[in-house]
């Protein structure tokens, strides 16, 4: 896996110190579900937080009186019913960190175009909804640019950059900046499921792409 397909150091640090936006934290947690290497890195960063905490956190400490007795133990919280009732199609392709952002517990990929389905998530990035997309084998995302960052993670299957041949497989992250123009095609014989956040509208470069963007609502 190329390093470009992983979170950046800034992204992982912001996840660890709790400063990143919810949409990014959720998508990074999906990547961590799928990438043991990055999990090890996050563990190191959290251990570092603990060591720093131990070294420095009491420099500005105030006096806090200990209560006279410990609080009673709390029984374990029941699991969320929404997580338990999601269809297998979702639970086996979409990591759990995204489940709580799926509004409908009986959600399924809704038809957008032939070969393309989606599930909107209860998450927004820059005021725009984050969505799960399912691309059927052979589906082509027409050449397009962006008016803001596009941050995508492949959750199952694979996508291929049509011009460079770069493959994004399970767990890989794709970041496209406003100046980037690209086109993607589903790679292999399996459908590809990806979570995509677009912080600006797409700028399709083809007539077909423009028509698709109207239907998709981008």
């Amino acid at each position: 896996m190329s390093t470009d397909h992983h979170p950046t150091q800034d992204e992982l640090l912001s996840y660890v110190v709790g400063n990143c936006d919810t949409w990014l934290a959720a998508l990074l947690a999906c990547h961590l579900t799928l990438c043991p290497n990055c999990r090890r890195e996050v563990q190191l960063l959290e251990d570092l937080g603990g060591a720093l905490f131990d070294l420095w956190a009491d420099e500005l400490g105030a006096t806090v009186a200990a209560p006279s007795r410990p609080p009673p133990p709390r029984p374990p919280a029941p699991p969320s019913p929404a997580i338990n009732h999601l269809p297998d199609e979702i639970t086996h392709a979409v990591p759990r960190p995204l489940h709580s952002f799926i509004r409908d517990p009986r959600a399924r990929f809704r038809f957008l175009l032939p070969g393309l389905g989606h599930i909107p998530l209860n998450l927004s990035a820059g005021g725009r909804p984050v969505r799960l997309f399912r691309f059927e084998p052979g589906f082509t995302i027409e050449e397009h640019g962006h008016l803001g960052l596009e941050w995508a993670i492949v959750l199952s299957g694979a996508l291929e950059e049509a011009t460079t041949g770069e493959i994004f497989s399970k767990g890989h992250i794709s970041r496209r900046h406003p100046s980037d123009v690209h086109s993607l095609v589903t790679s292999g014989d399996e459908p590809c499921v990806a979570a995509i956040a677009t912080l600006g509208a797409l700028r399709p470069h083809t007539l077909r792409g423009k028509m698709a963007a109207i239907v998709i609502g981008n």
Partner: protein
């Protein structure tokens, strides 16, 4: 920094006796002040930080008693609880976490390069590695973790360029990564 913060922390109580009131008091007195300090550095007022400290300690205690054993690195755990409680206070969703029981979970098949080390050793190694970092790198990490500042804000606070701040972070993490994997006293 007071003298207690530079010495290695005693491991938290591990047996059933830990659930007694005196042990709770011990854990509270050891960590509450640090949690408050951490939250003040993260921008909360002292009053809000104290209130949130109580919530964080309550959460930590309830998880502690539910599991019946302390987490591997207690400092790391307390740090994570305090960070998450702050996020909740700020009306942000608690940080989504990967779940090892997830059907999508990809297990770590890599073999460790050496026998597993005691977790206290890992903690001490990180502490020692932190001490060995150049002052500017330690100061950068402090701003990053304790004030939650972006690289832009850190650059402004330290009067340096943003790429220099990134470089300090990268170099510090590189050193810590190497030092945390070293064996005791041996490279």
């Amino acid at each position: 920094m007071d003298s207690s913060s530079s010495s290695p922390p005693d491991p938290p109580p591990t047996d059933n006796a830990a659930r007694t009131e005196s042990d709770y008091g011990e854990i509270f007195s050891r960590y509450a002040r640090r949690v408050t300090g951490y939250l003040v550095r993260k921008g909360l007022s002292p009053a809000a930080a104290e209130a949130l400290t109580e919530v964080a300690m309550l959460t930590a205690w309830q998880r502690f008693t539910r599991k019946g054993r302390p987490p591997p690195l207690f400092d790391t755990w307390i740090f994570c609880v305090a960070r998450d409680q702050r996020a909740v206070l700020l009306h942000r969703t608690q940080r989504p976490e990967p779940d090892p029981d997830d059907p999508c979970w990809v297990a770590d098949d890599s073999k460790p390069s050496s026998a597993p080390r005691p977790l206290e050793t890992t903690h001490m190694r990180l502490r020692n590695a932190l001490d060995s970092l150049p002052e500017v790198q330690r100061e950068t990490l402090k701003h990053l973790y304790f004030q939650g500042q972006s690289t832009t804000a850190i650059a402004r606070a330290l009067g340096s360029r943003e790429d220099e701040v990134r470089e300090h972070i990268r170099d510090a993490l590189h050193t810590l990564r190497i030092r945390s994997r070293e064996d005791n006293g041996k490279p």
